[in-house]
Every structure is written in structure tokens, then in C-alpha cells.
Symmetry: C2
Subunit: 323 residues, 2 copies
């Protein structure tokens, strides 16, 4: 697939009057930050522009970026000149909104996840970018857009979350270079970080502490396993999404190569998340249970009770580590 | 106090044959990274150079930076031409080694913590720098030093830890600019981060989970309090330093303005750590118990049992929040 230049895409956006912006479901910091920045700039250019998130609600700690940009009403723009999907190149990544997306007279895709093809008229997909926010920044440069404090802060939010605060291996020199530019635009990076990271729900902290308190180590500490049980959710007044991040914490234990988190959905259904630290290919293990993913992060759904799942998955990982 | 230029300090170092490097006790990522980078570069210039840490042991997750640079033996260099203290401008910050430091024929100080005066012959103190590692990088530039991969990685470790992964308000445009330079020097930033952050002792994770599982909220969630008890340390096979980071996690809870962690040292002695999120001045509260610190981070020692300390401190914070 050939990439269109940001100059070309910028011109298409400039020529449009009405634009709807889309992103993947379970919108993360990059999805919200990149779409908020784009919508802000397009509105400042006089466009009729809204984000249609695929989620009923976006995460509480990201909402500060949505300054009235999103709508629940697909008819807020009836026949959009342009629909553009950011950080999501495939319709299946925004299932709820895909019909509306297809109504765009012109369709654009900007993403940093490689795909073989998209159904869009214009595409810019760059898997070397650490965040979609980096690509939106480059689009703004090509458009000679003015980036104000709020736009800069949304882009910083996008980049800092998708790079794991500049710690993941996707982080590049360019990630930091863009951030130096954003500092010139008067952003308050520390305030963004406080908004994103210092608004943890107490229920979430209690759940995570309770689950991690019962972690187990096997194979000389190479395997860490924990279970999130329904009765724990109830005890903490938490929801399953509050368990996000636990599996990464398990992996951060010294000596752990594979971390597993079993999420009890019901008496006969569990979701399982796998992470590896360096060499292990957890997609291979997840595939044994009809799951999928990448070498370092994979998952599967198993239709059994938590205890059975625990035994099965533990054995599969131990067999993998032995091989 | 007037700063000497890095050109001047670089010349003094170049003219020396033997150099001993010092830093503050409880050496953190900045202390270890900055001293390791400096020692590496000075050895590459043919100097006889060692770090004398003030600690018996440096933290396990930072040891990867010490490639044979440190010594326990103060006599490893008997009459050093130069002694240099990094990230520590006052003798009280390295009490165990201060006599040895004073033996330097020439004494140098490079720090980013403001002090009124030092006892050194040459000083460069810049409180605008986010990390001592940033100042060492500038020293290298002034010295026209070659920075290899290992040196670059030690400087990145210094900067990323002292900026809270580029999230704290001390982070500047320059922090990111230096990191872009370090990327050109072939560093593997993700490997550094894995070393620092993905080697948590399981005992530490268990202790932190156990303590946070019992956190309490008061004043409509503005105050979060937790206690680390001696029996919890025993149950987890952990040590008190494993509680590092808990108070910051308590502060990260949505709505919390002041976080307090009470560390039970014995039946009649507790250490108390305070953190504030935005406006509260916790140094003022700590001062009521003869403690000290800054607006956002303070501490005190109280000679009472954990339950008494808990009641006293809780009441003091509630009174402060009411006022």
C-alpha cells in the first residue's frame, strides 16, 4: 500500500467543510489525544468537525482532552465530506461506527499499525511512529497549522501514553524531538501527566493490590500468575477494566519471563492475558487456546471455571518454558 | 555563589591524574547514572578514577550501570588529585565518605539542588536541570568527550529516573533535547528501562500490594493513609526500603490531595512520609512533628507506636485540610 503525503491529506482536509473523526474502540491516550488535537485544529480552520468514539464512555482520566469535540449522535453531520480514522486502519477496530464511517464522500486513514490494505481513499500508515499523535503532529506541520497550548497537550498525551512514558522500545529520537517542539508551544506536560496518571479510582487501586497480593511464582520465578475473581470485584466495588495494568506489573517482577493474568468472567468463562519480558513468544501459548496476539503480548478466552483455567494455562506455560 | 563554567571544570579534570567521585547516600538512578557516566569517560581519558558510594549496597536495579567503577576501599586512591561530588552539594549528604572527600587536593561540586554555599573549590549548581545527569552531559560537551553507548545509557538512566519518566514538572525541553542526542549515540533506552523498572523484587510487590490493600481514605477522599507494619515486612520477607513508591501511589488516587505513609520502625518509633498533589503544603504539617521537606514532599520521625502516630498524623492533616 502506497502512502499519501501529509501535504496531500492536508489539502483534502482543507477543502472539506464537514469532517467526522473516528478511532478504535477502547480508546486509549493516543486515540483520544490524536483525535482531540485534530478536531481542535480543524475547527479552528472553520470546519464542522466532531469525533465519533466507538465507546459509550471514554476513560475518566482521558476525558479532560475532549473539550466538546465528541458527539454520541451520528447524525450530527449527515453527509460528511470527509471521514477520517486515526490509530485504527480497519473497520473492525470501530465496529459500532463503521457504517457511518463509510458514508464519508472521501475517506482517510492515519495510523501507525501496519495493515495490508484499507478501504480508504487516502492513507498514511507509518509503523515506525510510536504514536498516532506523532503522525498528526507531522500532518499539522504539512498543513502549516497553528498548534496552541491545548493542541500541544493533547499531542503530548498521545505520545507519552503510547510510548509508556518514553520507556517502550517503540520510542524513537523523533518522539523526543516532537516533544521538544511541543514545549515551545507552552504546554504544561506535568499537568497532563497528573490528569492521566494521578486520577486512579480508589476501587481500582484496591482491586489491583488485592489481586497482586495473591500472585504466585513458578518455574524458579520465571512465571508469575494471578487471578481476578468476581468476588474480588464485588469486595472492591470494582469492574473488570480496573484490572488493566496488573499483568504488566506481574511482568515487572525480577526474573519473571512470562506473566499471566486470568480474568474470571463467569463460572465457565475466563479471559487470559499473557506478557513476556524478553524472549518468550506468548502468542504461541495463546494459540493453543485459540487466542492470538504478538510475541510479547497475547490473550485468549477459555470456557471453563477459573480453577481449571489456572491449571491449564499454568501447565501450558511450564511446558513452553521447559521446551 | 558563582558557578564555574564546565570548560573550567573540564580543564581541572583533564589536568588531574587521580579522581574520586562521590554522591549522596541512598543513591538513586540519577546518582548512579551520573557518577557511572563520569567515571567511564574519565577512565577512557586515562585517569585513575573510582566512585565511593555512601551506601553499603546500591539498589539492585541500578547495579547494571556500575561496570566495576565503584570501590568499597577508600584507600584505593590514597591522595586524590580531585574529589568531585555529584548530585550532592553538602557533606551531610554523604556522611560516611565526607572525610575522604575532604582529602581531595582540589574539590569540585556538580549538582542540581540549590545550596547557599559549598566547601568546594569549583562549583556548578543549576537548579533548572532536571537531573545531575543533564549537567554531566553538558560537562562532556565542554570537555569534547566521546560518549559511547554505555555512557549514553547511564545518562539516560539518570535523566529518566529523576524526571519520573519525563512526567514531573522539573522536566524541560532540554531534558528531551539531551535524550535526542543520546539516541544518536546508539543507546538502547528500552533496555535501560527494562533493567530499572522490570526487576522488582517479588517481596517488594507483595509488600506494596498488602499495604495498599489496606489504604484508608478520609475527608471525602482528600486524604489517603496507609501503614507499613513490621509484621507485614516479616510476612512478605521484605525490608522497609521495599515500601519506596507506596506514598506516591497513594497520591495518584483520584481526589487525593495529601497522601501519608506511616512506616513502623519499632514499637515506639515511626517514620512518616507526606506527599501533596497540587496546593497543600505538607512541609508545614511535617514541621508540626519536627520534620521538614518541601511543599509537595516532606517527612518526619515520631517516637510513638504506629496506632498513636496514625491518630496524630491523621488529625493534623484533617485540621490542615479544614483550615
Amino acid at each position: 500500500m502506497k502512502n499519501d503525503s501529509f501535504e496531500t491529506i492536508g489539502k483534502v482536509l482543507n477543502d472539506a467543510k464537514s469532517i467526522l473523526v473516528f478511532t478504535h474502540q477502547n480508546a486509549d491516550g493516543d486515540a483520544v489525544g490524536a483525535t482531540a488535537a485534530l478536531t481542535r485544529v480543524l475547527r479552528q480552520r472553520g470546519k464542522d468537525c466532531y469525533i465519533l468514539f466507538d465507546d459509550d464512555e471514554i476513560a475518566e482520566n482521558l476525558r479532560f482532552m475532549d473539550r466538546g469535540y465528541s458527539s454520541d449522535d451520528e447524525e450530527i453531520i449527515r453527509d460528511p465530506d470527509v471521514t477520517i480514522c486515526i490509530d485504527a486502519a480497519e473497520l473492525k477496530r470501530f465496529p459500532k461506527r463503521k457504517e457511518k464511517f463509510l458514508q464519508g464522500k472521501v475517506k482517510i486513514c492515519i495510523d501507525h499499525h501496519m495493515v495490508d490494505e484499507t478501504i480508504c481513499d487516502y492513507n498514511h500508515i507509518d509503523s515506525g511512529a510510536a504514536a498516532a499523535g506523532e503522525l498528526i503532529y507531522k500532518l499539522f506541520q504539512a498543513m502549516e497549522a497553528e498548534i496552541d497550548k491545548e493542541t500541544a497537550e493533547a499531542l503530548f498525551a498521545a505520545i507519552t501514553t503510547d510510548t509508556g512514558n518514553f520507556q517502550y522500545s517503540n520510542t524513537t529520537k523523533e518522539s523526543h524531538m516532537i516533544v521538544t517542539d511541543l514545549y515551545d508551544l507552552n504546554m504544561d506536560a506535568a499537568a497532563v501527566s497528573r490528569n492521566i496518571y494521578e486520577s486512579v479510582r480508589p476501587e481500582k487501586m484496591r482491586l489491583q493490590s488485592m489481586v497482586k497480593d495473591q500472585l504466585e511464582l513458578f518455574a524458579d520465578g520465571q512465571l508469575a500468575v494471578a487471578i481476578v475473581r468476581q468476588d474480588q470485584l464485588k469486595a472492591c466495588n470494582a469492574v473488570m477494566s480496573d484490572s488493566e495494568g496488573i499483568v504488566g506489573d506481574l511482568r515487572s517482577i525480577k526474573g519473571v519471563e512470562i506473566a499471566v493474568l486470568i480474568k474470571e468472567d463467569s463460572d465457565n468463562k475466563c479471559f487470559v492475558s499473557f506478557r513476556s519480558k524478553t524472549e518468550a513468544d506468548v502468542a504461541e501459548i495463546a494459540a493453543q487456546f485459540d487466542g492470538g496476539g504478538h510475541k510479547r503480548a497475547a490473550g485468549c478466552t477459555i470456557y471453563s471455571g477459573a480453577e481449571d483455567v489456572y491449571q491449564m494455562v499454568k501447565q501450558a506455560v511450564l511446558d513452553y518454558l521447559k521446551a
